[in-house]
């Protein structure tokens, strides 16, 4: 019998989609995806996730629940660390347990810890996955290498050109790229003649440079990416403003937004909070007013 692996969309799938897809394809394992966030997915997630979690966590739960009865294995990565001496939101480290208890599925969940800063650990992690799916080690290694290659080749981020105004669009990838959660934010900005640049389009070295000089080394990956990129683009005159999309109750953003605001003096800055709201009037009003402000500043 063929083994089928279920892959929930949401969270960092938005960043590592190419890697994950290629890896499982190369293993020649059957996969089933739940990728597009819809009202149904959100409702399912809200009902099975702990109440205090942020919106993207709830959405991920919805995708996982959607796949619960459609697959033999459920792939819920436990990302512990992305870079050396840096940390990720603790919810990622406990994601498998959170989801398992939420959707009430406790067996055949692929949840080995991933430490991306150690290549040796990383490859071992995927060899373990291969083993539990009865795939030979050499095949897994080759799948892993191909997946890494494709991931590295992929064009990441958004760098619009040809718009009247340009803004840095800050936030976590799953808020930026999930157009259901962010209510089509990017399209809405485009419709006002505002192009966006995301953090992936700023050099790693430049981001690193911008985050130097704090009294303590900031150790959140999301902070470094967003702060570093926003500050760099603002200082180098590449943008007219900053739009930051953040989930309600996000701990890391609560710091990132304030520090970034304080360090780009008198710069047009719009923070959009997303939660389970579906009324779009609030977000439309803010975007329109922000666009008016950019336009009137330009003419002035």
């Amino acid at each position: 019998m063929e083994i089928k692996v279920g892959i929930p969309g949401g969270l960092l799938y938005y960043r590592y989609d190419t890697f994950i897809n290629t890896f499982f394809d190369e293993l020649e394992i059957d996969t089933v995806y739940s990728l597009e966030t819809t009202k149904k997915i959100l409702d399912m997630g809200v009902n099975c996730c702990v109440n205090e979690a942020c919106l993207p966590m709830k959405i991920f739960h919805g995708h996982a629940l959607n796949l619960k009865n459609q697959c033999d294995f459920l792939f819920i990565p436990r990302i512990m660390r992305c870079e050396k001496n840096e940390f990720i939101c603790p919810k990622f480290c406990g994601l498998p347990e959170m989801v398992m208890s939420g959707i009430k599925r406790y067996d055949n969940v692929i949840s080995y810890p991933i430490k991306m800063n150690r290549p040796y650990d990383l490859i071992n992690h995927f060899i373990k996955i291969g083993k539990s799916l009865n795939v030979k080690e050499y095949k897994t290694i080759s799948a892993f290498q191909k997946a890494v290659k494709k991931h590295n080749e992929k064009k990441k981020g958004i760098h619009d050109i040809g718009y009247k105004h340009n803004v840095f669009l800050g936030g976590h990838p799953y808020n930026i790229y999930d157009s259901y959660a962010n209510m089509n934010l990017i399209d809405k900005l485009h419709s006002y003649g505002i192009g966006v640049i995301t953090e992936e389009c700023v050099d790693y070295k430049d981001k690193e440079e911008e985050t130097k000089g704090f009294i303590k080394k900031p150790y959140w990956v999301f902070f470094k990416n967003n702060y570093g990129a926003g500050k760099y683009l603002a200082d180098h005159g590449q943008i007219d403003g900053i739009v930051y999309i953040s989930s309600f109750s996000c701990g890391i953003d609560s710091i990132s937004v304030e520090i970034l605001k304080n360090n780009v003096d008198h710069f047009p800055f719009l923070v959009i909070k997303v939660d389970e709201h579906t009324g779009e009037a609030g977000i439309d009003t803010r975007i329109e007013a922000f666009a008016d402000m950019l336009e009137r500043r330009r003419l002035h």
């Binding site: 819809t38 579906t278 329109e288 007013a289």
Partner: protein
Amino acid sequence: MYYMGIDVGSVSTDVVLLDKGLNVVEEIYLKTQGSPIQSVYEAMKIVRDKYDSKQISGVGTTGSGRMIAAAITGADVIKNEITTHAIAASHTDPDVKTILEIGGQDSKIIILRDGIISDFAMNTVGAAGTGSFLDRQAERLGIEIDDLGKLALKSEVQVRIAGRCAVFAESDIIHKQQLGYSKEDLIAGLCQALARNFLSNLGKGKEIQDKIYFQGGVAANLGIKKAFEDLLQKEVIVPKHFKVMGSVGAAILAKEAVEKNGGMTSFKGFDILNAKTHARSFECNDCPNHCEVVMIYSNNQRIGCFSDRCGKYQNQTDVRFKV
């Protein structure tokens, strides 16, 4: 020659008429009471009794119900309430540098420099520091909302009330009330909490310079005005038309839009009041998004539609809306 501004907010629907020189000649303030279509109709009827359609040279709508109001009247301009409030304030006094605005569900701070918005902030998801919260607390204490400000000024002892969230504030008020504090002191504490919360949430990191305008329905409350003055150590001015500044701004923009358009208005005239207008909403099942689509009908003809994410219903509608 009059320009009409309509501001359909969560709590009130305001209509103003401006003359050619942009002076306010009519000012109508009605409660929205959950039915924006009804309240726009009511307000328009009051205008019709004094003016005829030809006298209206342009219409602008604003507020969270600006789409519905535009669908009914055929507005020349539809604008968000941040921009309209700023335009009205800098028209009233070009030296205004800060606007504090508290409405029914929203509160905002707008920073103006040389009459141009240079920064703004709006409350996020909660409605703690807004008019509906005050309404509720006044009701709980058995006081008319209009008396709230006067009572607050009579307070002698400052009671500290938690202001972050409406639920926290309410339980704090109840606890302190049971300890025997007077209503006046509780209300003064509430005003302080609201102003403190406003400034720490929205005003954080913003340079609040003179002149400061305080507008929106809550500006009627002298207790909050005083709380702002105490906290800022600056004079806070409540402009004459504080309640309807949004609609004043919309009317000014309507004039600009009509002039740009060669003097033609798209106002449908007061005959629309003879038509029966109603809204119908349904859940579209064509894709998994299940949008709750709203359609506006006038005499069974569709005049407006919103909330469909893909836009297919909006495209079918005669009147197209650009947000």
